[in-house]
Amino acid sequence: MMRPAPVAGEWLFLLLLRIYPRQFRERYSPELLDTFRRDRRRPRFSGHVGALRFWRHVLADLARTAVSERRHQASGGHRSTTFDRSHTSTGWGQAFGQDLIAGVRGLVKQPGYAAIVILTLGLGIGATTAVFAVVHGVLLSPLPYDHADRLVRVYELEHDNPGARMVAYGNFADVREQASSLEVLAAWQGQGVTLTGEGSALRLDARMASTDFARVFRARPTLGRWFTDTEVTQNAPVVVLTHALWQSAFGADTAVVGRTVHLDGLPHEVIGVMGPTFRYPGETDIWLPLPPVRDAVGQRRWHRHSMVGRLADGATLDGLAVELQAVGSRLEAAYPDYNKNNYFEARPLLDDMVGARRQALLVLLGAVSVLLIIACVNAASLSLARTLARAHEVAVRTALGASRWRLARLVLAESLLVGLAGGAVAVGLAQFGVTRLLALTVDSLPRAAQVSAWTPEVLAFGLMTTLLASLAVTVPALIGRRGEAMPQTLRARGTDTHTVMRGRQLLVVAQLSAAFMLAAGAGLLLKSVHQLTSVESGVAPEGVLTFGIGLPAARYPSPQAVSTFVDQLVDRFEHVPSISSAAATLTAPVDPYGWYNSLTIRGRDVAPPDLPHVSYIATSANYFDTVGIPLLAGRTYDNEPRGSQVVVINETAARQFWPDQDPIGQKILGRASDETSWTTIIGVVGDVRQALDQPVAPTTYIPIAQEYVTDLIMVVRTTETNTLAVMPRLRDLLAQADRDIPVTGIMPLTERIGLTTTAPTFNAVLMSTFAGIALLLAAAGVFAMVSFSVAQRHREFGIRIAVGAGRPRIFLDILGTNLRLAAVAISIGAICLLLVGQTLEGLLFGVRPADAASLTVAALVIMGVSLAAGLWPARRAAGADPLVALRND
């Protein structure tokens, strides 16, 4: 039976084995590899830490035995019969050491070459490694849970309502029972609570979770325990803390279990603290029991929960999908009023968390790889040029007896030195790059905490890339050496360099095409961002400050209580001189995660499952004026008589549902959906988008007094140029009104809206950076090539000038060649771009991949760069003194 082929780390090991003498290697390599594989699989070497330990052990063993092996051989091996000991394996190590020293000396003699190549490679390798670090951390590294690839999110979706994703409790219970592919299924629901009594009041992200929630992740508490089934079904006042909250609010007090804490004013007992890796969903601070919904109607109607589960042993995602389809059909038949058009879907958990960013990240990785190729081509080009420049020296050495093999080793040593130095520079750049990348994402990147330049995989990637880049420097140098025959080069300079010239032109064209692709990509992404940010949001956000407040249910138990408090607060705020108006809202503008409600219009007979859905926002009276939503018809609510039920709709709702009539005066059903909650439409306001890249949803606005909400966002319009300046005053006023209300998420409305463009901006900035560096490198490449060409043709130019051919003609000649090369490069680049254009589509907004404007601009940039880089050498050529040129031969 054949041994299986080597895998990643094993290639590295095989490479490292070359440290051993040839005889030893030849005899024992297969066994050494076999031992390597087996040891790698041992449980003590599992996981990331284990992998590091394993490699440390391997490298230490290598170092120890290789050294002693050398010493052994050096002291008692065969005596060499030739003077050049470098041919035998015994003196191998020492000879290589000599080569390295010679290499260093050679590079030091020409520091310019060394510096440029090292920098170029360092930039390329560093940038690529940084992006890989992000890709690895976000997309590739496994989640920190036991067998995390078996975890799935399950959604309840509606065919006619794309915004719906949550499950109703009764449906959750049925899926849990009927889907045997799931070993365990749990549900959760988010909530805001205020923690008081541990320092200043804290607004916490709480999650109510079902009994099995911890079991899904196989998470164990570090202190105490998780909820029992009884505690969950009876909604006992118990809580479990996350590790993070335990450290930040409770000072990692190990006696915290059993303590009483106050949430929204009500006492709860702390029964456990979970471990540091378990924090799902990501921002959870504290867990509460999720009591089952007992109301028969509510069980099927209130879609408030999210589900997460673990696949059973041997079950597959496809098997689960089939089962979910069956469950969906059964439920549709059993509950036609509530479950019609509903279906279930499962997604792997990792995919759910990062899937949205996957495409963009992979595209960026592709782009930075292109940049790396440009850098390698540059380095290769420089290496080739240097080799040719030293052809004379090489010929002399050969004449004096250095073997071809020896000279090749010199080349290898030099290239390796340069490559490794580039790698060392890359390490620093990669770390810097990762830091900058994370800062750029502004917390919008999922799993950002996993991104680090120092994980084994990233370091291995960096090493591999360095070795590849070193190849780029080595190969041209070796090829360059090969063709040199002694007599020719000793006799004359400037021999047939036509092929070399062609070769360099080819490299330059490759660089320019790659740079064109990056430039075009950057142009497309930048245009996307511009399109996105110029979308009309529907509000006038300048000068508006927002912040969130959470009212404890115990002290504000009714919509009236909330509304009264809000009115008083708004009144106080508006008395501040620099504040022109203030209001409260359930959902800020341009936020897709608001509430939805089904729309029942009085007098229209539509079956419940076929009802359309509208966005549902509760606000205080002044809201529209404060954020700048125009009133288009009727009026907005303001001091409505107690008990009245009014509603304001937006333009899209008016157009969609009352295309031929005046919506004002029509009646629609509120959220309670019983006969007493008919609301009257009193006005129509302008559209506000939920998301900049989505069409406007039909929206209904109601006064806060008509709906019970405890988590509100205050919006305050101020005349101050720096909106944040009014915050301290507002905090004071809020504290005066109620001391225990914490404030969260303070930011200007412009910034809040800007959050939705963070991801596309990140993509655009990155691609532009790559394009910028690529253009720089390509320019350098062009410059070098033209200089070389001019140097080679100096005799020709000398003759032409002496004969009387115009100097401008020479100048234009050279630049003409440049332009031709640029044109070829642009054509190749454009074709390649069209081929990969599909992959870009997901990242663009309002722009097609074949956008003429962006491509044209990119083409002009490439031509410009090509011309500019050739300018100086061309001028020198045209300005040459013919006597000098002709004499130098």
Binding site: M1, E31, L32, D34, T35, H57, T65, S75, G76, G77
Partner: protein, 116 residues
């Protein structure tokens, strides 16, 4: 061709290898496992050290490659066997160590606790 390495003393690893092989022929990885089990604790024997020792033992003809017992499993690699010369060398080594130990005891130099 003899070389002056023949007269150098055997390394600790080489002695361990010979002791394991004294119980019967084994292939490389099994030797490694046995040694690690014998030494105990967290000890992991480097593969380079192991095969270096094996090479030296093979060169001195104290250990040789045995024809594979199991023809159907060539993946496992070579099976090594302790040669008669090896048994003699091992006995000599152990004898040397025994003499050292009794010398130490006689002169009351501490030798640590014996683990039964």
């Amino acid at each position: 061709m003899t070389d002056n390495r023949d007269s150098a003393p055997l390394s600790t690893v080489a002695v361990e290898v010979m002791m394991v092989l004294a119980e019967g022929p084994l292939h490389g990885y099994a030797i490694k496992q046995r040694i690690e089990a014998r030494v105990g604790g967290d000890f992991v024997l480097g593969s380079g050290s192991l095969y270096q020792a094996l090479q030296r033992l093979e060169r001195r003809q104290l250990v040789a490659e045995a024809a594979s017992q199991d023809e159907t499993d060539p993946r496992r690699g070579r099976v090594y066997r302790l040669e008669p010369a090896g048994r003699t060398a091992l006995a000599a080594e152990l004898g040397r160590m025994k003499r050292l130990l009794s010398d130490a005891r006689r002169h009351r130099i501490a030798v640590g606790t014996e683990k039964g």
